[in-house]
Amino acid sequence: MKQTPLTSRQLSFYNLRRRPFRTFCLILVVAVLAFTLFGGSILTISLRNGMSSLQQRLGADLMVVPKGYEADMTGVLLRGEPSYFYFSDAVVQQIAEIKGVSQVTPQFFLTSLSASCCSTQVQLIGFDPETDFVIQPWIAKTYGIEIQDGCFIAGGDIILESDQTLRFFNQTYPVAAQLEKTATGLDSSVFMSMDTIQSLFTSARESGMNFIYDEEPKEAVSSVLVRINKDLNADTVASNIRAGIPNVDVIVSKNMISGISGNLSSLVDYIRVLSIVLWIFAAVILLVIFSATINERKKEFAVIRILGATRRRLAVIVLTESLYLSVAGGVVGVAAASLVVFPFSAYIGERLQLPYLEPEIGAVLGVLALSLLLSFLVGPLASIYSAVKISKAETYLTMREGE
């Protein structure tokens, strides 16, 4: 016959096992707490990462697009909603001459019809390697290479062919590099030089797909990215552009980011407050339940004491029970949160309409450890009062109460 030693741990386990409903409810309380702590923290960090990534990737102070296409541009940048729109490339020179503008670079947009890499349309972005100050520094910093004509740079969400190529409008080009995820619309974009995208444009036109009717493609651009002099205000320069050039919209990057940041800050504050409130709520619930339960169980503990348990031993039994509940609840809560935040990260980002970039494994493990620690602590902390109370109870009086 198997002989299980009746240690404090074993006694605590038996006590919990024989009260399944109470045990289930207490585990559920801690699980909700752990779910919120872990899920909320991952959500918060992912949103902050997304925000930070967006700030880094925009790289321009202003973005000038044809009148009426501001929403399309933000859709391309933030949500990866493919679009194309054009105005004359003469605007590039006009913008460069506006007071306060220090650098300008044009971009040219196409959208794929369908591609083997993707279940949806892909945003194709051509840039001018000679003037670009956004894409190339990013590529150079990450890969230490310069983009050549006749090759692509793929966004983080693009799935490559097995031979590391991509095919659009019957043209196949090698992919020189794939960018790390940014949680922006740029993840579902493919970048190339102006010459390459003009080649694709021609191929598309030959296939009967015409993106431009009233401009020559070589004389059209989709957007102009602008850097301003450091001592000037972006809103002032934007006003100058609007005043000096007709039929354009100017997007001020910091305003776009601060608008998103405002939403993000509110959400992060909400999650933080919710986590704190839930932690306190869980601690109070556990405190009350432990206290009430200990009152019910005074005679049980008095009997154990009569049999020879020290005061310390009684306290250890109570604390071990609460630790078991906390560990079970913590693990269940974190596991449940993991099943929500990781598989559905894309959906969450889409629903929140905010850039969402999951933290790296090291940060996830750090959050995991902290969430588990806080969950594991809540039970023992909440039961300290009960443990002290039961260990100080006068056994003689307790037994008399039960008579």
């Binding site: 002989q3 006694l11 024989r18 009997v303 020879g308 003689y396 037994m399 008579e403």
Partner: protein
């Protein structure tokens, strides 16, 4: 001599006036003694047992076991004393509902370090008290008499020098009471001291030493003084 009690007094305040729940008790306990103490409710019987068990500190006097005064024990020593030297059977139902019968009996074995096979020992004790077949059941499945047998087996698991039982037959019928008292007699015949408090005069006369406690004063009844037994009836102290 197993246990020596000298001038043991426990005072309480009631309405600001001190009174002695236990008053200058002197008692010597030797191996094999089967001591029965009876007395009215509130006469101090349970207080005396709790003092002997180290659950209460005396106001004055001493309880000496193996040359040491138990009032000087710290919590660890007092707990070890309760666990190893005495087997305490509390009043009423005292079997833990969360543990099986077998684990209830084994529990004191694990509260301090003891050598041996707790499982074999517990099964043997359950055999001796006649409930081996109930070893894996839970307390709620047992009758009052069976629960009392579990308490007795549990009190014996660490081979104590003395069994202390507080009203062990209080809620049992006559037949079950007789069976329980037979068990205590067997225990004392094996050389263990038994100290039993009861209201039941029939049960009280099962021992080889008989005491009456009145207003905290313990008096031994010898020979013909051991009157008060009523044929077939429960005792006068109720």
């Amino acid at each position: 001599m197993l246990l020596q009690i000298n001038g043991l007094t426990k005072e309480y305040q009631r309405g600001g006036i001190p009174f002695s729940a236990v008053n200058n008790v002197i008692l010597s306990v030797s191996p094999g003694d089967f001591i029965c103490i009876t007395g009215r409710s509130g006469s101090g019987k349970s207080t005396l047992l709790n003092l002997i068990a180290g659950l209460l500190k005396p106001t004055s006097g001493s309880i000496t076991i193996e040359g040491r005064d138990t009032s000087t024990f710290n919590d660890e020593e007092a707990s070890l004393y309760r666990n190893s030297k005495i087997g305490y059977i509390p009043q009423g139902q005292s079997v833990l509902a969360n543990l099986t019968v077998l684990d209830n009996v084994r529990l004191p074995f694990y509260l301090f370090r003891h050598e041996g096979d707790s499982m074999a020992k517990a099964m043997s004790l359950l055999e001796q008290v006649g409930i081996r077949h109930l070893a894996h059941m839970y307390p709620r499945q047992l009758s009052g008499g069976e629960l009392r047998r579990v308490s007795i087996a549990r009190a014996l698991i660490n081979d104590p020098m003395m069994i202390i039982a507080d009203e062990p037959t209080g809620d049992l019928d006559e037949q079950t009471t007789a069976e329980i008292m037979r068990l205590f007699r067997l225990i004392s015949h094996k050389g263990m001291a038994v100290l039993l408090v009861t209201h039941d005069m029939n049960a009280a006369h099962a021992g080889n030493r008989f005491f009456i406690m009145d207003s905290g004063v313990l008096t031994e009844q010898r020979g013909r003084d051991r009157g008060g037994r009523r044929a077939g009836g429960r005792g006068e102290y109720t």
